[in-house]
Every structure is written in structure tokens, then in C-alpha cells.
Symmetry: C2
Subunit: 684 residues, 2 copies
Amino acid sequence: MLLLRRGVFVLLSSPSPRAPLAKPLLPQRPPRTLAPTARQLVAMSAPAPTPAPSAGGAGTMSRDAFRAAVTNTLERRLFFVPSFKIYGGVAGLYDYGPPGCAVKANVLAFWRQHFVLEEGMLEVDCPCVTPEVVLKASGHVDKFTDLMVKDEKTGNCYRADHLLKDFCKDKLEKDHTLSPEMVQEYNRVLAILDDLSAEQLGAKIKEYGIVAPDTKNPLSDPYPFNLMFQTSIGPSGLSPGYMRPETAQGIFVNFKDLYYYNGNKLPFAAAQIGQAFRNEISPRQGLLRVREFTLAEIEHFVDPEDKSHPKFGDVSDLEFLMFPREDQMAGRSATRLKLGNAVSEGTVNNETLGYFIGRVYLFLTQLGIDKDRLRFRQHLPNEMAHYAADCWDAEIECSYGWIECVGIADRSAYDLRAHSDKSGEKLEAHEKFAEPREVEKLVITPSKKELGLAFKGNQKMVLESLEAMTETEALDMKAVLESKGEVEFKVCTLGKDVTIKKNMVSINIEKKKEHQRKFTPSVIEPSFGIGRIIYCLFEHCFYQRAGKTEDEQLNVFRFPPLVAPIKCTVFPLVKLEKFEVVAKKISKALTAAGISHIIDMTGNTIGKRYARTDEIGVPLAITVDNTISVTVRDRDSKDQIRVEVDEVASVVKEVTDGQSTWADIMWRYPAHTTSAADEEDAEP
Amino acid sequence: MLLLRRGVFVLLSSPSPRAPLAKPLLPQRPPRTLAPTARQLVAMSAPAPTPAPSAGGAGTMSRDAFRAAVTNTLERRLFFVPSFKIYGGVAGLYDYGPPGCAVKANVLAFWRQHFVLEEGMLEVDCPCVTPEVVLKASGHVDKFTDLMVKDEKTGNCYRADHLLKDFCKDKLEKDHTLSPEMVQEYNRVLAILDDLSAEQLGAKIKEYGIVAPDTKNPLSDPYPFNLMFQTSIGPSGLSPGYMRPETAQGIFVNFKDLYYYNGNKLPFAAAQIGQAFRNEISPRQGLLRVREFTLAEIEHFVDPEDKSHPKFGDVSDLEFLMFPREDQMAGRSATRLKLGNAVSEGTVNNETLGYFIGRVYLFLTQLGIDKDRLRFRQHLPNEMAHYAADCWDAEIECSYGWIECVGIADRSAYDLRAHSDKSGEKLEAHEKFAEPREVEKLVITPSKKELGLAFKGNQKMVLESLEAMTETEALDMKAVLESKGEVEFKVCTLGKDVTIKKNMVSINIEKKKEHQRKFTPSVIEPSFGIGRIIYCLFEHCFYQRAGKTEDEQLNVFRFPPLVAPIKCTVFPLVKLEKFEVVAKKISKALTAAGISHIIDMTGNTIGKRYARTDEIGVPLAITVDNTISVTVRDRDSKDQIRVEVDEVASVVKEVTDGQSTWADIMWRYPAHTTSAADEEDAEP
């Protein structure tokens, strides 16, 4: 699953669900010394945020100003709004309004095309309401927690690490009397923040005298708060359930059926798009850390002994920013690597993992993510679950820093084993051999008669212990029995050692013929936080350009046609019936072609209408200024061409379907020149 | 919102959310006599279920056998499976497997095209987690309940009406010693079941001696159980929330922003697709009554004084089965009506409601719903909320009876007013007059001085009562004051009458100029239960045909290409490398054209492969039996044509996109004849 628990670079290792033993914040972990680890050194050496690039005249804009300009446009044009606003809203819940909803639908449709259809994945759709037993098996019930402190008087809750972080940052920024020692101390705490245990966090909060920010009341000790929304299934109140914190579990519990559906063959991938829920203690960072969000997850099941991928060659020549573990630990920056080399040199663990990294790169850049602000960062050893073979996050840089938007993890056999153990249902695959294979097998054969004579009532427990020996233990015993004739043997269930004699057990390596191999498949899991990708896309596509007056800045989203919420507008140049008739005719043709568009019959100047639609990222505008041919205008270049009325819908379709670019089209049609005044006559 | 609370015809009026005052099961309603109402007579006269039609050789199949054959195929081919099966499952929760998920995605994509895109609706996407205040305003917190009884010893819960229904049905079916009076009694109870109050239900359960079905223990009195999944938002435990029981509320709370987005113009429609949740007491009927489901809802906001629709002419000639209130109450059946007449004759309340009825008809029949098993049933007076102007349900007949799948309701201004009142935010529209209008207004001007002299401390309450008079009351008072000089006037807040004299108040009709009109829009709400539609579609598309042997029945889903989970298969006729190369080439072309397909390289006979893909409703099969041209086979007719390899992807696209039908294509390409033996060589 996607972690989705960290926003910026310094928050790298906050709780990691389904990786219980790798979770740095678990209170049950033994307290460690506060010396920075290698990964923490990386965090400390992370470069200071650089201003977000911005096209047009706003190149020198600060990060905060840039973010304010984007989010102001997004909210004003209803890309998204806080949910339940008329009731004061709820932190961490947002609605997508019409253009945001259309962008989301386009992103998901492209995801289905790029992954499900092109890779022949098995898509499933499982409920959000999940019974406790499933999330008990996955580890979420016990381990999916954040550390929380409470205002001891009001009961208000805060994330313990956030309070400590805010305190240290505040000191460093505002207290100019700090000694060099204290500057170092606060920086060190910031760097190791995410690895602190509950006790260590509590101790620091006490040491610094941190109180509740709203009331200045004292705070409780930190304690774990489970981040799942709990509910009750059915009327009895006896069946606890949760709103799923990820979609992956729905796939794992269906493994057996899906494997059968795939003709009992590996590898295959299952996929799911759906809502997931996390009851954040104190949501921050707008659309990046929310309480309900859309995940798109893939579980690619593969033979652990063969992680090659037949289509790896299709992506091996791709070259992009990668940030391997070693470079992070050495304090170096991300560098451009060729994916083929990264796999062949062992930087990326295997071809299948590499293949998905490549496919994720193509997915994100085709959506409109700037490839220079996208990197694949490998997890450091202390970020990964103990069972994971390798993990890479697709991180996108935005005004909040580098944001984890896609997690691509080789989770080995952990999840299937966990559900197999809990449910008692065997979740495994088998490989039938073309020819039976001869294998050597250790066979332990206790002699019931001799054991009975020697141990009487304890016979059964001794026998079971002998049969449960590992191969090494058995071979060791065999050697001792052969040399000395007897051996001391600890029987756990009896709590004591017994003496085993040579005649009580025979231990042999035998050759056997096997017709198939049974195993638990490994799973490689690319997991996409759709809301995070969309927010980063908004930032990467946003720019401002000068309007009619020098002060005036016009907002533009340079969405590729693939994701643009509306593909095209139709404007009659002036209010004339004959133009409106043509506009309606074109609109009908666009609808028939399945092209989302708006038709604007208001009497506003054409410049105002362009500005209004540039601001929601409409790539093409058709202005009806003639009954035979019309003007088609490109959003970013503002170039205009003339196209026959009957042809215009198919030209628009060609560009918005991605068969042609605007540049291709430009060559085929006569240019149209407009008065500069009109174009720049923007809305106030 | 869609009621989604009733399955078969006799369950017509179980609880109706967001229609609190119309809910027949509310305990606070005064007990009524048990005499059947008009609507109940309809229920009693409902025709006995007729066997579900079934093509091919299974025409005489019983309803139950037909349903068993469909659901067996659906589960075996992973259209859907019970969720969390390896843990024993959870009643009322289902997963869509790969083909089911694809059908669902296709249905939703078509819904977006047919409604959102073609009607220019504003689509939004709001969270499932909803704070209590929103659902308090909508009435769900207080009124969205079913009546439940508990086993007094084990605590097991049952729906009170279900127990009573099962008891009566059981008696009628199995007890052959019943007196005619008791037969009449049980039938009467079945007919009025849904109108019984908690007290009445409890009395009947006691009278009949009904006990807990599992344990035979006594039962508690019936009491209301709220059907929403409750949870808690944030860590404090102080903010109760619910999983939304419908998506409509997310639209209502955004009315103001959406109205602004639409240029402050009416009418406009907003739409939302998303998950909804209902914690059913005891889910039944497979996919028809579940605890989590996908809704697609439209809220069309319109001026209550003008419910005409500019595009009504596009649907007015449609003719289909309608079941107006009068026909139901007179015990007649549904009849074919012309939609234009139904509106002009006032059977359907207004054009906009009629327009949506027509659009829903087109939507469902284009999906593949049999038009002869689809009817639009008008709500009876006691089914409708008091504020509703008119309601029609699209009901689809399946093996469970007539199932409500789409509700189309004119809900007047109820929902916006409820949120306006609760939030204090004005949710209204305004119409600016082209020219100011002169209106007559009643002006009541009490004389504070005279009232003060006469009533001293009570002055304020008398004054307020005078100002609160309706127009009629005021004009009556004016008349009496003018004739008699004084009048007795009841002041509710004082609890007594006072004498008002002529000098205490002046009442006049004055002329005023108004520049605009403010009003709360009416909302017309088509609400689609996507899972129910899909289940009915499965039944309508399923048929069996004879296989190789006489006993063998082959299952087929005759999905239209629009909804078929996979559009096409590619089979090399025999395992030959040159055929596999061609198959892969065709597969690549299909992927590029965005056509979902499967490529089956197994060595199975072509007949087996056809049977296997007919069973998941793949419309077209490409058999590679040549390197220049290939065979394309139609699922239902089994007709085959020959098409060039380079052309085949575009031919498939033409049919599956709906530009051409198979019949169109048949004329253009040479026919191919196959050996009958091969075609019928089906899988065992």
C-alpha cells in the first residue's frame, strides 16, 4: 500500500501501515539512543526548498505566494472546496467540484487504459466496510497508529511529533538568542523526529515544556491512536468493522479466486480503484493529507524465484531521476539513471519492480507531471518492512517539498501468508513440472515403539518435537547419534531435555520424485495516491501570464488534453443568431464525438471568455466568427487557425485524443490573426 | 434519493429516507386501523410472479431455477463473489470480480456520457464520511430507521416486518388446515405490512406467538434501528459522523457554489457517482439489498414556477410501460403510454420530470434492459413525502419481482430549505427582472403607542402577532375593523384573545417596485442504484443454448457491446507460431484502439474457447486461421465473416463503439462457414 503518511522530505518515516515491524513510532520498540542514523543524516542534509518554478512573468514568486495563487484559483473555480462548508467544514475532507471531478475522472480513465487494459490486469471492486478480522490479519488493528497527546483539561488532541516539530522549527526561526548548542540540538531533534518512541517523544515534550498550543494547558504522555475509522457491522453491535485504510486487502483475500480466474498461472496482476479512509489526528497540507482519498492499487503476483518481466525491454531505455539508497546515505542528490542499468547493476532489485517503475514514470509524465520534478527514491533500510525486498517511491516536487505520490514495493510473500495463517485458507500457487523432478528430502522417522518404552506418557511430545526439527538440527542429531550413539534433546513442550538413542529415530536424506512445486507468491505493489498526484499536477500545470494591464496576471493551467476537464469551448464572436446556430451545430457534433465542451453565449468580450477558460485549462477554443469556417485557438501559444465548420469537431477530437499535437495541426490549416487588444481584454 | 429499501412489489412502502413524514413505519405516527388502503389493495391484487423469460431451450425454467443458473454463472465466472469469503464473508457485502468490475465501469462511463456530458451537468465528488449535523438536517439521524426485534436471550436481531411476513407466508403455503378467515387475515397482514406502526407490528408478533427463528426464544418489542454506519471523526471522540446513506446531500450543501459556477442561472443539474452505505438489519436478495453500493444521483435545480424543459420534444414521442397511480389503485396493470401525452394530460406532473423519465428509459434500454420488463410506476399518495410534487420509479422485472432501480422524484424545495434552516446559509436563487415590476404588497403597520397604552408589558407580543398574520387573516381583520371598529384577536404567545381597535393597527395594500425575485429552487432528482441495474441487466442478458450433447446447456450473456466486460477475443486456431504472431499483432492494434480483449493461446478446441467467452458475454471473437485474413464470429447469431488482418481492429471498434451493428458489418464482408461440430464442442 501507499504510505501516504508523509508530506515533505523531513517527514520520511512516519508510520508505515502493513509494515508493522518497520514502524519507527511503535511504543513497544525498545528505546534507542538519539544518535542520528544514516537516514537521518540524509534528512539533515536535504537541500533547502527552492522556489517552485513558474512560467510567464512570475518566475521570482516565492513558494508560499505560488501556492496561494494556485489554491486560490483552484478554490475559486471549484476544482475543489472544503467539504460541508456551509456547516463550517471538517478538517481533512474536500469535495471535487466540476472541473476537479472531470480531471479526476480523466486521470482514473487513463490509469485504467495504461495499467489495467494495456497489462491485462484483473480489476476488482471491493467494499470499503471491512470486518475486523481482515485488518487484524493485515496488522492494521494493532499497528496502524500515530502517537497522540491530549490537552489534559480540554481533551483536545494533537499529534505528538507535530508539536515537537513545530516547537523546534519555531525556536530555530524566531529565537535569535539561541546558543550554538541549542541550534544543533533542535536540528538534531528535527532530523530524528520520526524515529522517536512514545517515551522519547514524551520526554522531549516535558524537557522543552511544550504545552497545548490553543490553551497552554499541560499535555498527556504520548499514546498510540489507531487511524482507522471504526464502525459496527449489522445491528447487534458485536461485529466491529473499519473503513478500509487501503484497497489492497480486498485483493489479497480474493487471491485464490483470481489465481483460478487466471488459469492457475503466474504472474498476474490484480488492480483496484477505490476510496480509502484514515482518521488523521490533525490533517494538514490541504489535499495532500486528507481523511478520505482515492487509491489505485496494483498487486502483481509473481513466482519469488523468477521476477523477470517479458516487457522490461519496453522501458529499459528510459532515463530519469533516481535516488538510490547509497546516494541518500552519502548525502548526494538524485541523478539521472538509465532504468536498464539500474536493474542490471542491482540498484533496483528485480526486473518486475523495474518495469513498474518505468510504467509509473510514463504514466505520470503523460499526465503532465514535469519530469524534472519527479524522482524515484529508494527506501532506506529503516524505512522498509523487514520482509520487503525493495521499495521505491515516486516523489513529485511541489510547494510542500518532495511528496510521495506512488509507492512501488516488492512486499515478498508477507500479505498472502498473513491471510493464509489467519483464515486457514491456503493462499499459494503451484508450478507443475513438465517432467517429474528428483529432489532430495530429509525424512525423520521416529520409532514409536522405542519412544513409548523410553518415555511412556511423554512419548507423543518427544515424537512431535523430533518431527519438528529443522534440517540443520536433524543433520546435527544424525551426526551425533552416529558418532556417540545418543544425544541430549530439548523438548519444549516438556520443558526439559531428554536422551535420544540411536534406535529411537532414523534420519535420512531420501530421493523423491516431485510433480509440482507449491509456494506463496511474492507480490509487487504499485500504489497510487490519486489525490496527491492530482494536486501536484495542478501545481505543475499552473502558470500566470501578463494581462491587459501590467499588474494584471492571468491564470492558466496547461493541462494536456488527456486530463483537461473540458476539452474545448464554443463561442459565438458576437451575439448574432446565425453564429449561435453554427455554435449549436458544432456543439452537437462535439457531443456526438464524446468531447466535453462548454458553449458560452454570454455577450462578454472574446478576451474575457478566453481568460475564463484558460483558467480552467481548456486546451482549445472555437470562436464562431463566420458561418463557413471558424477560428480555433490554442491555449498556451494563443496561435489561431481557421477550420471549416463541418471539420472542426474531428480536428478537435484528433488533438484531444492525442492522435495529433497542436503543432501537427498548425501546418495543415491557415493561420488566423486576431487583434492583440481583443485577446488581452481579460476579465477583471 | 433512491429508496433502495424495497425489493419486490409487496414491499412497496418500507422506510423512505429523506421523506420522514411520509415514512409509514415511524413509531411516532398515530396507530391506524388495519383496514386496507387503496395502495394496499393494489399490493393484494398484484399478479402472481410469472416465470422469467429465458431464450433458447430453457423457456419453461422456473424462476428459482433461472436465478440459480444466472447466479451460479455469475459467481463461477467471478462477476461477483461474497466479500471476505476466506473469513466466512459478511452478509450484504459483495466484491465485483474482473468481468463484473468491467461491466460496472462501462455502465458508469455510459451514465457519464448520457447524463453528465450530454446534459452539461456539473459533476461533483464528495466524501463518504459525513458529519452528524448534515444528516441531522436531512432527517436521516432521526428518521432513517427500520423496526427491529431482538432475541431476548441471545441478542440476535431481526427485522420485525420480515419475521411477520415470513410467518404469514409460511402459514399460507404450508398449513393446509387454515380456516378461510385465517387465510384472509394473513393475506390482509401481508398487504398492509409496510404500513404497520411499531406497536401494531409488536401486537401481531405477540398475537401470533412469533419467536426467534434460530432459537425459539421470545422476542423484544419492535424498536427503530438507525440504518447508518456510525463512526467518529478525528481523535477526540466528540465529533460523531456517519457513512453517507446517499450521495445527494453532498450536492445540496454545495448548492450556492454550484449556482455561482453556473453563472447564477437556473435550471442546472449537478451529479454525483459514489459509494453509499446502509447498515441493513438482515440483508437478503443477493446484490439487490446490500450494505454498501454505488449510487449515481442527479439533482436538477429548477424554478418552481417554470418546470418546462427545452429538450422535452426529444423524448415526447417515446412510448413505454407506465403505471400511473390511478391504474394501481383501480387494480389495472401497467400500460404503454406516450410520454408526451402523459405530461400533457397531467399524469406526469411536469415536463422536466417527464424529460428525465424519458432519458432514464433510453439509458436503461441502451444498456440492454428488456423494454418489456421495464415500467415506470408512480408513487401512491402514502408512499410520497408530504413535500414531494410527484415521484416515479423505474422498476425492472427480474426473478425477485419488480425491482425499483431508479427513483425520479420532484422533491420541491425541501432539501435546500432543510439545509438553509440548519446552517443559516441562504440557499436560494434569484431572478433579475428585465424591467422592475410593480407588485402589490400587504403592509401591516401596528401603532406602538396605542398598543403600549392598551397592553403595557404585553405590547411586544401583541405587536409580533399582528405582524405575523397571513394575508387572509390581515384582510379579514381590516374588514372587521372597518365595519365594527374592533376585533377579538388571539395572541398565541399570551394564550388568550385581546381586543384590537381600529387605531392600533393600519392594514393596507401598497404598490412596490421590485427588481428581482428570490426563491428556493425546486429539485428534481433521478437517483440510480447502479448495483441493482447491473443485477437486472445480468438476468435480462442471460440465456442458455444447447451444447454438443442434448443435456448440456451453454450459458451466454447477450450484453450489448457497450457494457460487455471484454469486447473481443483473439484465438489462434491451432498452436502455430505464425498464427501466434498474427494474434499478437491484432492484440496490439486492439490495445492501441482502446478495445479490451483477451488473447487465448491455450490449445483448447475453438468450441471450448467460444463457450468460455460466450459465458462472460464477449460479443466478438477473432479466430486466427490464416496470416492474411481472419474469422470474426458474432456471439449470439454465431455468424462468421472473414476480415483482413490489418482491418480487423477497426471493424471490431466500429461494432463495439456502436457506430455499426453486426448486421451492418455482415453485408460488407464474405461469410465464413465453420464445421458445426467445432462450434458445439463446448467445455464440459
